[in-house]
Amino acid sequence: MLKIKNLSKTYKGGTKAVDNLSLDVANGDIFAFIGHNGAGKTTTIKAVVGILDFEEGSIEIDGMSIQEKPVECKQITAYIPDNPDLYEHMTGIQYLNFVGDIFSIEKAEREASIGKYADAFEITRNLGDQISSYSHGMKQKLAVISALIHKPRLLVLDEPFVGLDPKASHILKGFMRDLCNGGSAIFFSTHILEVAEKLCDKVAIIKEGRLLVSGTMEEVRGNSSLEDVFLELTDHEK
């Protein structure tokens, strides 16, 4: 579903954020992307979802290049950023309906999906209020709902559990599993290694823009915990 080949991204000023990175996320995978702050996770994610351009390498979503067919790629992708800066001047329902229009979701399906996810995250009664009145967690829930209602084939999340309460995190994990059971793929960054260990099938660890290790959770972890592996790799790899 997602193929990253030899991706490199250098910012103006010469900082190389991502260096020759290659990853493969298959249908049904929940793929954790782990690294220190500033390791290049967000840059990679932003390149995948079409926010950042890149000079070297390629990114393909369902066989289509994000650079050559951006609209087609974005039509089957959903993205949730680490900080949910939404349209504060809209109400929650206006925002979700806007997303529905852009992704051409049929009216009946749209209403059913919004109802289902908003009820699950317990924000239905707040949907008529302006987003500017929402707490950080409510904005995060709204961002999650907006990502799920169009049934993406690829869901990309940057630190999705930050700001969510334990119940909402639990519900989100359930929806993530449901999505993958339906054949979609999930690629997400996290610092919560316990979540990655329990939820994910595959994992990649990145440091200073370079991939240290990638594979199934069992392959990477071996007999240790993911935390031990992560600390060992990131501390020793210079």
């Binding site: 926010i51 087609e72 939404l86 504060e88 809209m90 997303v99």
Partner: protein, 552 residues
Amino acid sequence: MKNKLWLLLKVQLRSTLGRRPDSKKKSVRPALGSLGRSGSPLSQKNAPAASGSGNAGYTVLMVFVAIMMVFLVVFFSMTMADSLAPLGLIDLLPALMMAASCVTVLITTIYKTNGILFGFRDYDLVMSLPVKTSTVIASRVMILYLYNMLFCLVILVPSTIVYAMYATPPAGFYPVFVICLLLVPLVPVIIATAIGMLIAWIASHFKRKSGANIIFTVIALLLWMYLCMNMSNIAVNFANIGETLMQVISRVYPLVTWYTAAVCTLDMASFALFAAVSVGAFLLFTAVIAKNFKHINNSLTADRTSSDFQMSSLKQSSKKAALFGREWRRFISTPVYVLNSGIGVILILIFAVLILVAGAGTVLNLIGMSGFGNTLTDILPVGLSFFIVMTCPSAASVSLEGKSFWIIKTMPVQTKDVLMAKLKVNLYLTIFAVLISSTLINIALQPTPLQAVMMYATPLAYSVFTSLFGLRLNLSNYNFDWNTEMQVVKQSMPVMTVILTGMAITIVPAILVLTLGPMVSYIVTAALAVLCVLLYSNIFTKGIRDFDAIGA
């Protein structure tokens, strides 16, 4: 205290002037870090860089605006002084200019209150810093004061120099003037802040807070314009009414009397009174605000929530309609955006309705532009366009994407549709205004068929040109790092450039129409049509690439 006040002031000045921290110089983050907090939400992480030429261009533009304003003030002051001096009424000049600067301060501060003093974006961060609330208030009030001091400098210094040339006052005049100059903005800032707070407070009680805010502020602006027109009529006839003008101004704003007596006659009692009232009122107001700051801020900025939504039928739209709806909501939900970018539409409609109802002669007399005679129907197509060039939401539409830019970048939409939606908001507003107002004026003035056609064609050409020009400028000079919308809607380089260019390309042709005839407006309309084609072609080729290259 002083050090922290200076640090806060420095950060705010950089932020409100739209300057990003220069990597080669000491950055904003260490400044905040020294206040006890690092890694703040003000962090520039992942923030897209604004266009490199933006700062230099903005500085040049501001210098140009200041020079133009000084030129106009000198011109106006000398014209007045030539008339006043022979009548022995030269002391009216400082009085009028002081009143003018106070009105300017008043009107420019009303809608700055919410954004600078209250409801600023980094409120949570600033209030959590180890800084006294009074220091935060002091830094915010200082910003308002410094802004307004600039207006007072531009208006009062040149006009006072003109006064000194005519009145040749004694040496004591100069130090007294300098001290008074520093005090002039204080009371208008208080009055404007109070009005701004009142408007925001009333609006906060409405479900549609932004709409209420826009309506009340427009009413306040129209009242101000009505007063100004009356004042200008008084000023035009000052030779007949002499000293009564002073009495009129003093009745409205008594500080003018004390200021004039202090500056012109060096009356120390008036000087002391002026200083004591200005400083005393300012300190008292600041103390009251500081004591109730958190409560007032919460009252003014709180969103009314009903939390009683129930799912019902949703309206389905096409992608293009959804993108237009997004832009339109952005426009109408931001009072400062509507007031700054849409005021021309309100004014042109009022102007046209007044011409239809009261007749062209009355209206032109009211705004002090009578005497066009038969040339009126020739000059009006360009004259109406003056209102149209003031309406340019597209010049801030890219910058207003702000920190939410990631949304549109990750959506399956064509960039050309996004840009077209931005243009449509501008075009719909101005085209609607032109069609209504030109029709009303054609009905009222009964021009020739060619003049009637030009009454539509010329303003429409300006409308399309302004929309395209504004968008093109904003694509090249965007700023996503603003703290209040006012920074991009009112003070940004694209907005200022469009308005100044618009003024130049309407005023100059209007003068040429008066001297050379209506052929000038035909040529200008044709030239604008050609420019529109070039700009459209540029935006939908290079402009699309520019938009796609912006990171979020």
